[in-house]
Assembly symmetry: C2
Homo-oligomer: 335 residues x 2
């Protein structure tokens, strides 16, 4: 039975939404148990009696807050996130979910759990919605700035493996994010990366920002600086459109009547553009599954993050990534 | 009286929408005349008799198409865009509007009209909508990839001058696009640029992708590779949300009733997210105003692009940009 470690205190809203999400996940899926890392007195009252047999509590008091520096994380050995990651490192848990300080989670995961052989830099991947009832996996969305061509190549391989084994897509297609579709487009780094990615099966070449939401490809690869900006831009546009709709609604009674009738449409729309729906973003390239959830995660987001962790832990991602990187790198040396 | 040169043939839909937009602009503004560059036989029948006195036709047959390479533009001396730009270079027109091949328009403007003293790379600026009834000027959105810190500094100065003198904002605030607000965030180039931009009055520091649509600052500066991706991402999200709304509408009759009542709201929304509303994107850093309109511009977009050209030509942008660049560069040497 899989065991998922969870930082129960690190989120912006304290332990309540996290335990609530964990309990919801346990209700839906009987095939895993959890270790909740946090203050025992605070966590215990939140857990319904019947789930106590499936939630172990690892008692610790220190919580790294959002305003703390990620560089201090290594020294804070009693912190919830440090201890949750140690559980995985020591083989006492199969995967970890954290809604805490994302920089600290990433550093600790990379340094304590360690990188997969052949991976120079782990990357954060996230799912973006499309209009076609499917999603696009985008990476890196923030773990690394100043990625080089080799890093982008690794991101492509890791993203393709994740899409195939966790998202269960058949032969996922990878695109390289650029400023135009033509082969000649790109900056120095992406032009160099293009040549490396050309060795990967199902590489579709350059794609543009709009292709992410069209679902042109399954996996989009970019530098973490660019990925962060595109993620925030997408959120900003969705948010602004929502605000404009609301503002205009207030102006007219007839519109209010219309809005009531359209409530279902808006609800559906929210589900599709609400990134919390996907639960969390996997950190790809470390030896065990690490899911970084948003600090503001609600119970549903935590539940989905746990399901992601379970899916990832059920596949041998680390072995497959290592083998593929080795295979493609050998191909490159031959060519 | 100002004279605006316009490539009357370069757009994706031929001369009709361009002449229609030009005529609409002439109707609304009595203080300018135009030189339309294109095939005389095709243009003449499109112009109403009473506007013939304010539209001069410069007859030429060659049109650079979207599939042509920008590098050939310099050799195509009989092309509509080449001739339109020559009119400005020779002082026979005050500004140029082109809905044709944007790469060709940029190269020709840069090489034939020339760069403002102190500007190493001209940049394309565009207006993005916010929920607060204002817009954010973003540059560069595609003229340059691999911009260095000095380029970004120039973009900041040019954007601020444009916002102040053409958009008529009082003391426009400039932000540097980065992967977080903190001073420590950024990639190598933006961290270097941060130090240079710190010398500019009203520099707000780093801003994120979402800030563009919140209207946190008036001008956002970024590399052209990043700018292109954020522009396409924004368009992609807006487009996807529109499609999701439409798809859901079709599913239910009640929603259709709601949609009819909300028609006005959607119309308003469209105006705010429709980038064509702004007419075109100015190429900043060349000695005369050059407005790059979208290839798919409708008459309204062309009309607005012409008004932008008029506003830009009414200010001494080139002199002000040159003076500011000199002033800040001197400050930097002193400090």
């Amino acid at each position: 039975m899989l065991k998922i470690a969870i930082d129960a205190m690190g989120g912006d809203f304290g332990p309540e939404p996290i335990i609530e999400g964990l309990v919801a996940a346990l209700k839906k899926n009987n095939n895993f148990s959890a270790i909740a890392v946090g203050k025992k007195d605070e966590l215990l009252p939140l857990i319904p009696q019947i789930f106590l047999s499936r939630i172990e509590i690892l008692d610790t008091n220190d919580v790294i807050s959002m305003s703390d520096s990620a560089t201090d994380a290594l020294k804070r050995k009693e912190s919830t996130i440090y201890k949750a990651i140690e559980l995985v490192r020591e083989g006492n848990a199969d995967a970890v979910v954290s809604a805490g300080h994302s920089g600290a989670s990433m550093s600790l995961a990379t340094l304590r759990i360690g990188r997969i052989k052949g991976v120079n830099r782990p990357a954060i991947a996230t799912l973006m919605p499309t209009s076609e009832n499917q999603n696009t996996l985008v990476l890196d969305v923030g773990a690394n700035v100043d990625s080089d061509a080799k890093n982008l190549f690794e991101f492509a391989v890791m993203g393709q493996v994740y899409a195939q084994y966790v998202l269960r897509l058949d032969e996922p297609i990878v695109g390289l994010l650029s400023n135009g579709e033509e082969d000649s487009k790109g900056n120095e780094v992406t032009k160099e990366a293009y040549k490396l990615l050309a060795k990967i099966p199902n590489f579709a070449g350059n794609v543009e920002g709009s292709d992410i939401f069209k679902g042109t490809v399954d996996v989009v690869v970019c530098d973490g600086f660019v990925g962060n900006i595109l993620l925030k831009t997408a959120e900003g546009v969705a948010d602004t459109i929502g605000k404009i709709i609301k503002k205009n609604l207030k102006r007219s009674l007839i519109s209010i009547a219309g809005a009531v009738l359209m409530r279902k449409v808006f609800k559906n729309l929210k589900v599709r553009v609400d990134y919390a729906e996907y639960g969390g973003a996997p950190l790809l390239g470390v030896k065990a599954p690490v899911i970084i959830a948003h600090g503001k995660s609600n119970p549903k987001a935590i539940q989905n993050a746990i399901f992601q962790a379970i899916n990832a832990a059920s596949s041998n991602l680390d072995t497959i990534i290592e083998q593929r990187l080795a295979k493609y790198s050998n191909n490159q040396e031959i060519n």
